[in-house]
Amino acid sequence: MPRSMIELPYQIEYLSILDEEGKLDKELEPDLSEDLLLEMHRAMLLSRRLDERMLNLQRQGRIGTFAPVKGQEASQIGSAAALDESDWLVQSYRDQAAAVYRGQSIESFLLVYGGFFQGNQLPEGVHNLPVAVPVGTQTLHAAGLAYAIKYRGDESAVMVYFGDGATSEGDFHEAMNFAGVFQTPVVFVCQNNQYAISIPREHQTRSKTLAQKALAYGLPGMQVDGNDILAVYVAAQEAVERARSGEGATMIECLTYRLSLHTTADDPTRYRSEEEVEQWEKRDPIPRFQNYLQEKDLLTDQKIGDLEEEIEEQIQQAVDRAEEQMKELEAEALSMFDHIYAEMPPYLEEQRQALEEVLAEKEGA
């Protein structure tokens, strides 16, 4: 075949179930339990309110910089909901919605963003990795974790989150390739929220979709409406199944939008228009899903009102606990020497003592 086209094993699929007008594709509608539907709804709402509260706290100087989830709740909760407890979630810095859904406490995030590393201690049995800030790096941990799971003959899957920007990093490439070669049970979930700080998706890469990057690794890739929690759930569920059954890795691109700031240090008006944001506000994943649940008679305005109150209370309690803990922890600066190594080497012990003296002197003064 002197000059011919080569056929590739995969094509890139697009999936949407509940569209932004609220139109439902009945044939694709997943059969989910009432409990799960309401749990997902609650988790999205909790994340939204937590964002708002944290923004407030940040503006008052009570916590530092953080990255709001707003707009991406469906991408996170829809995908995380496809995981079992024994599966692993490898998160980045904008994934509080999923992390809390998977069992991390709200106050742990408040502590971390309040400047206390103590918040990063995970509860027993929660198989999340702590927040990875360096973009894209966590994809490799996921690939390795998944290799270990496979080696152990365990049946868990690993899900890893990253952004549109992260697909440009070499680590993403290497992780996809590693997962492809060793057919490890990873689900690569790209939250394509259209921006990497100020850089729009189109400027991040010339490829038409991010999902098609999977083709470079001989892996299946799928693009879904990331503001449609049903579509996200279905895609994630399929990918998790693939992973658990030994068929290897999948990449899912969730088309979504960051409705808020990149972080609290960011001013998005410098790089995007109000109109664009308004367009995407109409696609907000929460009202869309809420309407769906109301039409299914699973939610009423009254129930939503109660839920909002309950969530407010939950957050308030977490804030109170966190602030109390922060006050207590203030005096624990010496803990910066903990957990550098399993055992403290002598030179560190010396430095720790030196700091102890400095602190004692300050206290004395």
Binding site: G115, A265, R270, I340, Y347, L348
Partner: protein
């Protein structure tokens, strides 16, 4: 002379150099439309266009590696890595190529690039946003490593770095970015790379430091003056590599007592090299052990404890008294 923050002064340097020399181009994450997350590159896009002020994909190795290619073709790329904590993504490009292209090609090609990157703690940031790893670069033959301490020398050194025919890693102290203003002349100023500066004279003790640590060092010198009647000479290194040992050796040969201050972790850090040079050059003049006041050998804590982590005037004074009492 207008009074400027370090951010404004760096911005001035970039504006003027880009105006003067069309080989100078700026690239990095969010440097164009957004003007840089610290606004150091603000306004450059509007003035010089997107071919010269380039928002790159999110990939540090490519920012650095592509800069090497640009430099080989004769441009003078000033690339930004958004935080020094992410510069290790391109460490292989820096070590294997930026630092070696001149050597490898026997002078046929060279890499006049500047890698600008904010470093250091003190601004209540997230993990990876507070490190000081200048020793990695200073230990790498073929690189220069520069760390200004204030608006005026930042501007002058950035101009010199851009004009330097060799690759310069240019650390900008986040803690200094907007901490104070200084008069910065509109007219061009440069400052030689590889030269330190005596910023306060004194006969009793030498404090050697740089970057964000200059301010607490000066504060300590004031305290020593007021409370101990001790005159500390304070040396601002400005260049970590080439390291201007002549300047600090001269000082120590006069004072005999020395405190070195850097916020990087202590072990295998800059203060060690400074100590070693002093031992080589000033051994017979040293009247007391050299005191290192540095970051501890730990991960820089999240911000609740960063003030405790960072060397401050108190710790410097303490160390100075130790040196003086020996």
């Amino acid at each position: 002379m207008p009074k400027m923050t370090m951010v404004e002064a760096l911005n001035l340097a970039l504006h003027q150099e880009m105006e003067k020399d069309d080989r100078v181009i700026v690239l990095g994450e969010d440097v164009a439309v957004d003007g840089g997350v610290y606004r150091v590159t603000e306004g450059l896009l509007e003035e010089f266009g997107e071919e010269r002020v380039i928002d790159t994909p999110l990939a540090e190795a490519s920012i650095i590696g592509a800069s090497i290619g640009m430099a080989v073709y004769g441009l003078r790329p000033v690339c930004e890595v958004q935080f020094s904590g992410f510069s290790y993504f391109g460490m292989h490009q820096i070590e294997s190529h930026a630092a070696r292209m001149r050597w490898r090609s026997r002078g046929g090609y060279h890499v006049p690039m500047v890698l600008r990157t904010p470093y250091g703690a003190g601004i209540r940031a997230l993990e990876h946003h507070s490190e000081s790893r200048e020793a990695y670069y200073a230990h790498t033959p073929g690189l220069k490593m520069v760390i200004p301490s204030g608006p005026r020398n930042a501007r002058a050194l950035l101009v010199s770095a851009i004009r330097d025919p060799d690759p310069v890693v240019f650390y900008e102290a986040k803690a200094v970015y907007r901490a104070f203003r200084e008069e910065v002349p509109e007219e061009e100023e440069t400052f030689p790379i590889g030269k330190a500066q005596v910023v306060r004279e004194g006969d009793n003790l030498t404090i050697i430091t740089y970057g964000a640590m200059l301010q607490p060092s000066l504060e300590a010198a004031d305290t020593l003056d007021e409370e101990d009647g001790v005159q500390a000479e304070v040396i601002d290194l400005l260049s970590i590599s080439p390291l201007d040992h002549e300047t600090f050796v001269n000082s120590v040969n006069k004072t005999g007592r020395v405190v070195i201050v850097n916020e990087a972790p202590r072990s295998f850090g800059p203060a060690a090299e400074i100590t070693a040079r002093l031992v080589e050059k000033s051994f017979w003049y040293l009247e007391a052990p050299v005191q290192r006041v540095t970051g501890y050998d730990v991960i820089v804590p999240l911000f609740a404890y960063e003030d405790v982590y960072l060397p401050d005037a108190k710790r410097i004074v303490r160390a100075a008294r130790e040196a003086l009492s020996a």
